[in-house]
C-alpha cells in the first residue's frame, strides 16, 4: 500500500503561510515607507517654509543696506559645505536681488507665485513681502528627499531580510509540529500490511481530521465483518456440503461391504466411484471459492514450515514424493489455510499428471519459494498458458482440472509470483511450478 502523499499538506500549508507572511511583511513595509515619505515631505516642506520665512526679513534688510543697488548678489558662504537648501530673492519684475551661494537662478520657476510648487527636480516655496515687491523662493532638490527615503527604506529592509527567513522557519516548524499527529496517522496506515485489520489510533488527531480516522475504523470494521462472514460462509458451506456427501459415501461403502458379488454390488461400486468424484469436485470448488475470496492474507507474518509439513504428511506417495523442508521458520503473510490449499493442489497436480516412474519434488526454501517439480514431456508455451485456465489438463490422467487454477488464484490474490516452467532448468523435459510467496503484504 503506497500512501505517500503526492501533494504534501505540510508543504502546501508551509508554502501558503510563508507566501502570506511575506506579502504581509512587504505590504506593511510599503505602507511604512509611504507613511514615512509623507511625514518626511512634511518635515522637508516645513524646513523649506521656515527657510523662506527666515530669509525674507534678512533679505529685506540686506537689500536696504546696500550702498549701491545691484543684481544677483551672492551670499558669502560661512564655511565650505554642500548646500542642500537654496534660496533666491527677487523683486516683482523677477530680478534676482540675492541668492544663496550655490543657488542657480535657472532652476527656479519664472512665475512669482507664493506657496509650494514642484518641478521634476525641485520643491519650491515662495513667500512675498512689501506689497509683493520682494519675493523669496526657497528650493529643496527632490533627489535629496528621495535619497532620504531610500536610506530609510534600506534601514527598514535589512532587519526584515533577516526576520523574514526566521518567520518562514517558524511557520515551517509550527506547521510541522501541528501536523505531527496527522503525519503519524499517515505513517501508521502506510506502514501497516494489507492484512492488518486492527483499528487505527486517531486519538491525537485534530478535530478537523479525527472524523477521517473514525471513517477508516468504520471501514476496517466493515471489512473485518465481511471477511469473517466470508470465512464463516466458506466453513459453513463446506460443512453443509461435505457432511451429506460423507454420509452418502459411507452408507454406499457399507453397502458395498455387505453385498454379495453380483450386478447390484457392481452398481453400488459405481455409485461409490461417482460419490468419490463428487466429493473431490466439491472440495475443489470450495477451494476455488476460497482462492477467489479476500481472505488470502493474514494480519501478521506466520511460519509456513509446520503447515507445509502437515500438508505433505497427507500424501501416501511413498518414495515418489521427495520433500525438502527448511529447518528454520519461513515467515510469510499468506494466510496459512490458503498456503495449505496452494501447496496441496500443486503436489496433487504433480502426482496426478507427472510421469509415474519419476519422483515428484516439493521444496519450500528458506527465502519463501515453493517449488514443485514432476517428470514428463516438455510442454510448449501455448500448453502452459492453457493449463492456467480452469478445467484444463495436459494429460489424460484423472483430475478435476482445477488444481493449477486454484493455486494461481491464491498466488495472485496474496501478491505472490506464479511461474510455470517446462522443461525444467538443466533438463530437456519435466514440469515445474515456482511460487515466490510474499514476505509483506503487497497489492495483488
Amino acid at each position: 500500500m503506497n500512501l505517500r502523499p503526492r501533494n504534501s499538506l505540510q508543504a502546501r500549508l508551509s508554502r501558503s503561510i510563508a507566501v502570506g507572511v511575506t506579502i504581509l511583511w512587504l505590504a506593511a513595509t510599503l505602507g511604512t515607507v509611504l507613511s514615512l515619505r509623507h511625514e518626511m515631505d512634511e518635515v522637508f516642506d516645513s524646513a523649506l517654509q521656515e527657510l523662506a520665512q527666515r530669509v525674507l526679513p534678512l533679505a529685506y534688510q540686506e537689500v536696504l543696506n546696500r550702498d549701491t543697488p545691484g543684481n544677483d548678489n551672492r551670499a558669502a558662504p560661512v564655511g565650505e559645505h554642500d548646500e542642500t537648501l537654496i534660496y533666491i530673492v527677487r523683486d516683482d519684475r523677477g530680478t534676482v536681488l540675492l541668492r544663496s551661494h550655490d543657488a542657480d537662478p535657472a532652476v527656479f520657476p519664472d512665475a512669482l507665485l507664493t506657496g509650494f510648487q514642484t518641478t521634476n527636480q525641485f520643491r519650491f516655496y515662495t513667500v512675498s513681502a512689501i506689497s509683493d515687491t520682494l519675493y523669496v523662493t526657497a528650493a529643496d532638490p527632490l533627489a535629496h528627499r528621495r535619497a532620504a527615503i531610500k536610506q530609510a527604506t534600506r534601514t527598514m529592509l535589512w532587519p526584515l531580510a533577516l526576520l523574514l527567513p526566521l518567520s518562514l522557519l517558524g511557520v515551517w516548524l509550527t506547521v510541522r509540529l501541528t501536523l505531527r499527529p496527522v503525519v503519524a496517522f499517515r505513517d501508521e496506515i502506510g506502514a501497516r500490511g494489507l492484512g492488518n485489520l486492527a483499528p487505527v489510533d486517531g486519538a491525537a488527531l485534530p478535530e478537523e481530521i479525527s472524523p477521517l480516522a473514525d471513517a477508516v475504523n468504520t471501514l476496517i470494521a466493515r471489512l473485518r465483518r465481511a471477511l469473517d462472514a466470508e470465512r464463516g460462509f466458506t466453513a459453513s458451506s463446506a460443512h453443509e456440503l461435505r457432511t451429506p456427501i460423507a454420509a452418502a459415501l459411507a452408507q454406499t461403502q457399507r453397502l458395498v461391504a455387505e453385498l454379495p458379488p453380483g450386478a447390484i454390488l457392481t452398481r453400488a461400486q459405481g455409485i461409490e466411484t461417482g460419490l468419490k468424484r463428487l466429493a473431490r469436485l466439491s472440495s475443489k470448488l470450495l477451494e476455488l471459492a476460497k482462492a477467489e475470496g479476500a481472505g488470502l492474507i493474514s494480519e501478521t507474518a506466520q511460519d509456513l514450515v509446520p503447515v507445509f509439513a502437515l500438508v505433505v504428511a497427507d500424501f501416501n506417495a511413498g518414495s515418489r514424493l521427495w520433500i525438502t523442508i527448511p529447518p528454520d521458520p519461513v515467515l510469510s503473510v499468506i494466510d496459512t489455510d490458503a498456503f495449505a490449499v496452494l501447496a496441496r493442489n500443486l503436489i496433487e497436480n504433480a502426482l496426478t499428471h507427472g510421469a509415474e516412474d519419476e519422483p515428484v519434488s516439493a521444496v519450500l526454501t528458506d527465502d519463501r519459494i515453493l517449488i514443485v517439480t514432476n517428470g514428463g514431456p516438455a510442454l510448449d508455451q501455448a500448453t502452459l498458458n492453457r493449463l492456467r485456465k480452469p478445467f484444463e489438463r495436459a494429460s489424460l490422467a484423472p483430475g478435476t482440472g482445477l488444481g493449477l487454477g486454484i493455486a494461481e488464484a491464491i498466488a495472485k490474490g496474496c501478491g505472490a509470483t506464479f511461474d510455470l516452467i517446462s522443461p525444467v532448468q538443466g533438463q530437456i523435459d519435466g514440469f515445474q511450478v515456482r511460487v515466490r510467496l510474499p514476505d509483506i503484504a503487497k497489492n495483488p
Partner: protein, 223 residues
Amino acid sequence: MRVLLIEDDTLLGDAIRDQVTADGHAVDWVTRLGDARDHVAVASYDLILLDLMLPDGRGLDYLRARRAAGDVSPVIILTARDQISDRIAGLNAGADDYLVKPFDLEELSARLRAVARRYGGNPNPLLVIGNLQIDLAARTITPAGTRDARPILLTAREWALFEAFIQHPGALLSKSQLEDRLYAFGAEVESNTIEVYVSRLRKKLGSGVISTERGLGYRLGSV
C-alpha cells in the same frame, strides 16, 4: 476395543458404527455431547471418534475439557472443516488424528488401528509372538518359519479379542473387561461368549496362545 462415536448426522453415524463394529470393536454411538459425558462417566473407552460441530456444543471444547481433566484416551476427530488451521487447532487441543469428511471408511479403519497401536505401546504394526508373525495394520497372522505358509484367518470379533491381549501383553484381563471391549451398551451378551471366542483363538493359533487364570480371567500365553 471399545469405541465411543460422537456424531450427530444419523446417516453417517450409522455407517461409521457398522464399519467399526465390522472391524470387531464395540461401538457406543451418541449424537450429543451431553450423552457422551454420561457414557464416559460409566464406561471406559479405548478410543473416541469425535465430530466437531454438534447440536449442544463444539467438539473441540469437549476435547480440551477432557485433556484438561487428565484424560489421555485417544481421540480421532471426524469433521467437515478442512482448513489447515482447524486441523492444527484440533491437534493442539489433544486429538491424535484428524479425518476430513467425506472420508473412505477403510481409511477410518486404518487410522483407528494406527492410533490403537500407538496407545498399545507398540507403534510397529509387525509383531512376532512365538511362531506367529502378526501384521496389525493388515490384520493378518502368518505362522513364522514355514514355507508357503497360508495366513490364518480370524473373524472380526476373534481379531478384536486377540488384539486386546496383544495390546496388554502379560496383563490379566477379566471376562467383563473383555466383554466391554467386544460389546456396546445394550448388546445382548451370552454368558459363555468370551469362552467361546477364546476357544476359537486357541484352535486357530495354538492351545497355548491364551492361558486361563481360573476364576480371574485370561492372559496372553506362549505359542
